[in-house]
């Protein structure tokens, strides 16, 4: 069991303590033998982890948004409570297997994945012989089912990446894998001022807009897929992307004119980059940003 910090009175206002205490009954923690003091410690740990430097109002919002029932269940399971494990197995074991099969698209691999996660959830003994459950890392920010799904997806991608590294480039070439050549369109842009204008314009967009651009143009995700990720309808994504690309074109045109390019030449350049070309340039810029930030 990880060490849980005590509640520092100055950090957490009295209203926050009252809010945590008021949710003790609805969490059902008492059924799993979790006392109110222990419950307060668990919730305080979540607040300190995610909103230690936030305002009291934000901390109250955080406490109100927590899935405390599932958090109490997870903590009880990690503590070895049999009743809690019974509830967990009844509620999440079938969905765990189904989700694993959906992610791996193969029943055998899905079972292997779900069993591996189940073992980690139950707890693996550490060097001191103490059992460490992966459920300790669940903080109740989202649903427990969603968290299990994300953990499964994470383990699946890690497994795929680790196996992909085992295959050498020569083996891939022998297997007939074709590697796409770099698009010549970016190099064919005559005026470097166009690339600079695009880069400057992309640097101005917000995180959400950049996420939409990256998901749609760089990752080639569908509108429905992006909509599912952020919980909005695909038509909303479509409208946002249309507005965004229009605004980008206008800003790029403005920058080109400011850089001394005549309006007629601007029109020609933007016509040459019309829709598809502009998207490719956006993709190029986003790809550069991505390679700098991650592996």
């Amino acid at each position: 069991m990880p060490h849980l910090p005590s509640i520092p009175e100055p950090a957490l206002a009295r209203a926050l303590i009252c809010a945590i205490a008021s949710r003790y009954a609805e969490s059902g923690a008492e059924c799993y033998g979790i006392t109110s003091e222990r419950f307060e410690q668990i919730v305080a740990a979540v607040v300190l982890r995610y909103a230690a430097d936030a305002s009291a109002r934000e901390q109250l919002q955080l406490v109100a948004s927590l899935r405390l029932e599932e958090l109490a269940l997870a903590r009880a399971c990690s503590a070895g409570n049999e009743a809690a494990w019974g509830v967990f197995l009844a509620r999440f074991r079938p969905s765990l297997f189904a989700t694993a099969c959906k992610i791996t698209r193969d029943e055998a691999t899905g079972r292997e994945l779900s069993d591996g996660l189940y073992a980690e959830l139950y707890g693996m003994p550490n060097r001191e012989g103490r059992r460490i459950s992966k459920l300790d890392y669940y903080m109740g920010r989202g649903s427990l089912e969603g968290w299990l799904r994300t953990v499964l997806a994470q383990q699946h991608t890690n497994r795929c990446r680790s196996r992909a590294r085992d295959v050498s480039l020569d083996e891939q070439i022998e297997a007939g894998v074709c590697f796409a050549a770099r698009s010549p369109i970016a190099a064919s842009i005559e005026d470097h001022r166009v690339a600079a204008a695009i880069a400057q314009t992309l640097a101005e967009v917000s995180g959400e807009e950049r996420f939409l651009l990256a998901s749609y143009f760089l990752d080639q995700r569908t509108l429905a897929s992006i909509g599912r990720q952020i919980g909005v309808h695909e038509s909303t994504i479509c409208r946002k992307l249309e507005r965004l690309t229009d605004a980008l074109r206008k800003r790029i045109r403005k920058r080109l004119q400011a850089a001394g390019i005549s309006p007629r030449r601007c029109d020609e350049l933007l016509q040459e980059m019309d829709v598809r070309d502009l998207n490719i340039n956006v993709t190029e810029n986003l790809r550069q940003e991505r390679s700098a930030g991650t592996f």
Binding site: Y50, L62, K102, G207, E208, R210, D219, R228, G293
Partner: protein, 349 residues
């Protein structure tokens, strides 16, 4: 691993990780479920925009979510409380739309019924079935003769009470007779005899409802039903009595009541007339030699108007336009204009 042993690229990548660590599965799940605080959501968007790995993870997890949950998620978000003016606005717009549709339907129905009434009323005197006219009448024949010989007095003071048959019969008969005889007569309209007959026509038209009631009282049941339907709107009856005007090829004005028979209204006029203008019951006819005739009773009586002329030239009236019954303009071919503001009593050129 000691960071100083790493190459510059790895150090740069490691520094990027330290500045922007990957979000844990809890945050990604809360992000997908819309449970993050606004500040956290903005920060996570910034990270996702630059992290293809986390975007991929988020995508795989969201694709694996049950369809029903993913589809219903946007609709399960509690709606924001609307301000008061936006609560009643949709209902008000729906009510306004319904009102417009109902008004349009009512207007269309009225137009259709008035058109039917106009057609039936125009053909009514000639198309009244003979058995209907020959049915036993409650009116004694001597009384009918008396009413035919004496002038018609409309029951204006009793609009709510249905007029009796003795009051209604002369109007219908006089209208039919005068329509047939008017074409043969060569009176000018200012003469007393013709004036009388034309006045009767006007009175008969003006009391159209009486004719309708008469028809419904004496016609067979089917015709009576149609007559009852027609009697619902007095406006439609006014349009049913509408007269039509034209100038024939000889330059003579003619009038028709919709039955196809045209009668000359100014047969003694030698000058060629050119133009007719009708405003309600006011009729204006103009032509060569500055001839301008005016009738205030839909052509029953006529008055010759003398237009003032400075140069003594003979004008040919080409246009007559009245905005109201009192104010109007008369224009000659040479551009000379006369205007009146008192229904033609005085003219300014």
């Amino acid at each position: 691993m000691n960071r100083s042993d790493q190459n510059p690229l790895q150090q740069e990548l490691a520094r990027g990780y330290q500045e922007d660590p990957h979000p844990d599965p809890d945050l990604l799940t809360a992000f997908a479920e819309g449970a993050l605080l606004p500040r956290e959501r903005r920060k996570l968007f910034e990270h996702l925009a630059r992290c293809a790995e986390c975007r991929e993870l988020l995508s795989i997890a969201s694709e694996a979510a049950p369809e029903t949950e993913a589809a219903l998620k946007p609709f399960l978000v509690p709606r924001r409380a609307l301000p008061p003016q936006r609560i009643w606005l949709p209902w008000a717009s729906i009510a306004a739309s319904l009102l417009v549709v109902c008004s349009a339907a009512l207007l269309y129905h009225q137009q259709q019924s008035s058109r039917k009434h106009a057609e039936v009323a125009a053909n009514e005197p000639a198309q009244l079935p003979a058995p209907a006219l020959q049915q036993p009448s409650p009116l004694p024949s001597p009384e009918l003769k008396n009413t035919l010989t004496k002038p018609f007095n409309p029951p204006v003071a009793k609009p709510a009470q249905a007029p009796s048959a003795s009051e209604l019969m002369p109007a219908a008969v006089a209208m039919k007779e005068n329509q047939n005889e008017a074409a043969k007569q060569s009176n000018f309209g200012l003469q007393s005899s013709n004036s009388f007959s034309n006045t009767q026509i006007g009175q008969a038209r003006a009391h159209g409802p009486s004719m309708q009631n008469y028809a419904s009282a004496y016609a067979p049941s089917a015709f009576a039903n149609a007559a009852q339907e027609r009697s619902s709107s007095t406006a439609s009856l006014a349009s049913a009595a509408r007269s039509h005007w034209r100038i024939n090829s000889a330059g003579q004005p003619e009038r028709s009541f919709g039955d196809g028979a045209w009668q000359s209204v100014l047969p003694q006029e030698q000058s060629k007339l050119r133009v007719v203008s009708v405003f309600g019951s006011e009729v204006w006819i103009g032509g060569e030699n500055a001839r301008l005739y005016h009738s205030t009773d839909n052509g029953a009586t006529w008055k010759l108007i003398t237009l003032p002329s400075k140069d003594g030239r003979s004008h040919t009236i080409a246009h007559i336009h009245f905005q109201t019954a009192q104010s109007g303009t008369v224009e000659a071919e040479d551009g000379t204009l006369w205007t009146t503001l008192d229904g033609g009593a005085t003219w300014n050129d």
